[in-house]
């Protein structure tokens, strides 16, 4: 096996990983604060992608406008879900909200299916985004490059926001101790709403990237990436954005390297392998790759 081949598998892994990372980062913004395993995150991506598709194909809107609209749509859906299904349960514990997020997910999937039919649809990005660049035999589309850069940029911006700004401070406070945050004068509802706005907009963007990668969309498309995002966020360390991104990359690279480098007889075990890697990593670092020891002592 030559190095170029290995290298190109690595690049493929990063490519896939950056899509996972993109989903995971949006996922973990909400997850970090509320510890809400938001199974509906993936479905919000679906909603956004269908919004783009219908605006472009039915109303002939330009892509960038439809993307804007899809972000708005995703935020609206995210906020409705927050208001109706998550907020009334905020004090109720993680397990309970898990049910409501699964329910929201099922609701959205079926709604999408009713509106847009269960048929898979082709999803095209404009030529200039899908154009393939050739770097010494390693091929990347413009969209791949944009995704990768976007992940890094968004990570940097969000990290800055969370570490340095008032809002970010409030977010971290809420994730640490809700009651104390209230006593500090933080409007928890605002913080959560902001988190959902960020999370849902990122869901819309990652939906776009995911659809660009798969080139087809269907009403169920969001569930598996949503689940992977959850795994990535946990693998990276709950509550750590950098961890979520790293987790996404680890999943993507593990997948592609296994698919590319292993003999074909065992490549069907790829998904299993990814989880074996995940479990091994957690055995070494039980709080995730970048996770800190949970605070508190005896």
């Amino acid at each position: 096996m030559d190095t170029l081949y290995v290298l190109s598998q690595l690049v493929n892994g990063l490519k896939l990983g950056s899509v996972y990372a993109m989903v995971a980062i949006g996922y973990s913004i909400v997850y970090g604060i509320l510890r809400l395993i938001n199974f509906a995150h993936g479905d919000i991506m679906t909603v956004a992608v269908y919004t783009i598709l219908s605006l472009v194909t039915i109303f002939g809107l330009p892509l960038w406008m439809s993307i804007g609209a899809s972000v708005v749509m995703a935020v609206v859906v995210g906020l409705i879900a927050e208001r109706t299904a998550y907020r009334p349960l905020r004090a109720a514990g993680e397990e309970t909200t898990l049910v409501s997020s699964l329910a929201v997910s099922i609701f959205l999937q079926n709604l999408m299916m009713m509106i847009f039919s269960p048929q898979r649809k082709a999803f095209h990005l404009p030529e200039n985004l899908t154009f393939l660049h050739n770097f010494n035999g390693i091929r990347l589309s413009t969209m791949n490059i944009i995704t990768f850069i976007a992940v890094i940029v968004i990570l940097v911006i969000l990290t800055f926001v969370i570490k340095r700004t008032r809002v970010g401070m409030a977010m971290r406070a809420c994730s640490d101790n809700m009651d104390a945050s209230r006593l500090m004068g933080i409007n928890i509802n605002h913080v959560v709403v902001i988190a959902f706005i960020i999370g849902s907009s990122l869901a819309a963007l990652s939906g776009l990237m995911l659809a660009g990668e798969y080139k087809t969309i269907d009403p169920m498309m969001g569930f598996v990436p949503g689940l992977k995002a959850f795994c990535a966020a946990v693998l990276g360390g709950i509550g750590s954005l950098g961890g979520a991104v790293l987790g996404g990359f680890v999943l993507g690279v593990a997948e592609m390297l296994f698919a590319g480098l292993m003999p074909t007889e065992i490549t069907p075990y790829r998904d299993a392998f990814v989880f074996v890697v995940l479990i091994l990593v957690l055995m070494v670092r039980p709080n995730g790759i970048l996770g800190s020891r949970e605070g508190g002592r005896s």
């Binding site: 406070a173 101790n177 004068g185 928890i188 605070g295």
Partner: protein, 235 residues
């Protein structure tokens, strides 16, 4: 400044505050003492908005605040040092203090206040970057008090500030309360250390199982034989 009339509070179905009325005047230090489970913490939590009153009126500077969201109440300057400290255990001391001044925007004011907190509790400066959850009990209590001071309270609600502090440190904290009082900050103090509480406060309410049984000038109560018997360990 603070007017509470006929306050009732319940947890789920059990009512624990049965019509309490009390008031705190501008600049005053009022103590609230009572046995375990009398409902002192419950009253404070209701005042700061963590709990919703079942009925009754709470006026702050003439404005009703009963049942308002917690952050709205804090915005008006009512700040609590909660029972059990409620620090942000995964964040550093620095961040905890920063959060104390969440609503306080002026950088200068924050620095001034911070200086003062540091002189009070030097350990906080020493451990500025330690994760708060790993601090000792007493250190956490200092942090909780320091954090509250940073927010420029108009009315400070203190729920057992001396709990877990060494005698020396308790003394110092009470000294701080005295200074604060001189600076004109209004305070409502819940304290198990009834003697200290009576000594430092202007007026005192005594709470028994959710109702106020006695109220009056602290000087007078401190010499009241009944109070002595029940709350001062029969000294």
């Amino acid at each position: 400044m603070l007017e509470v009339t006929d306050l009732r509070v319940k947890y789920d179905t059990i009512r624990v505050i049965h019509g309490v009325s009390l008031n705190v005047r501008e600049g005053e230090l009022v103590a609230l003492i009572g046995a375990n489970g009398a409902g002192k913490s419950t009253i404070l939590k209701t005042l700061s908005g963590l709990l919703k009153p079942e009925s009754g009126e709470i006026l702050f500077n003439g404005q009703p605040i009963g049942g308002l969201a917690c952050h709205k109440i804090v915005q008006q300057g009512i700040v609590q040092v909660p029972e059990g400290r409620q620090i942000f255990s995964k964040m550093t001391i620095k961040e905890n203090l920063r959060l104390g001044a969440f609503l306080e925007v002026s950088r200068k004011r924050w620095e001034q206040n911070l200086e003062r907190v540091f002189t009070l509790f030097p350990i906080l400066k020493e451990r500025y970057h330690q994760v708060a959850g790993t601090m000792s009990g007493g250190e956490q209590q200092m942090l909780a008090i320091g954090r509250a001071l940073l927010s420029n309270p108009r009315l400070l609600l203190l729920d057992e500030p001396s709990m877990g502090l060494s005698p020396l440190m308790t003394e110092q904290v009470f000294d701080v309360l005295r200074t604060l009082k001189q600076e004109g900050i209004t305070m409502l103090l819940v304290e198990q250390n009834a003697y200290d509480a009576l000594e430092i406060s202007d007026r005192t309410y005594i709470l028994e199982t959710g109702t106020i049984t006695l109220e009056g000038d602290s000087r007078r109560l401190i010499n009241d034989p009944g109070v002595k018997q029940a709350y001062l360990g029969g000294v």
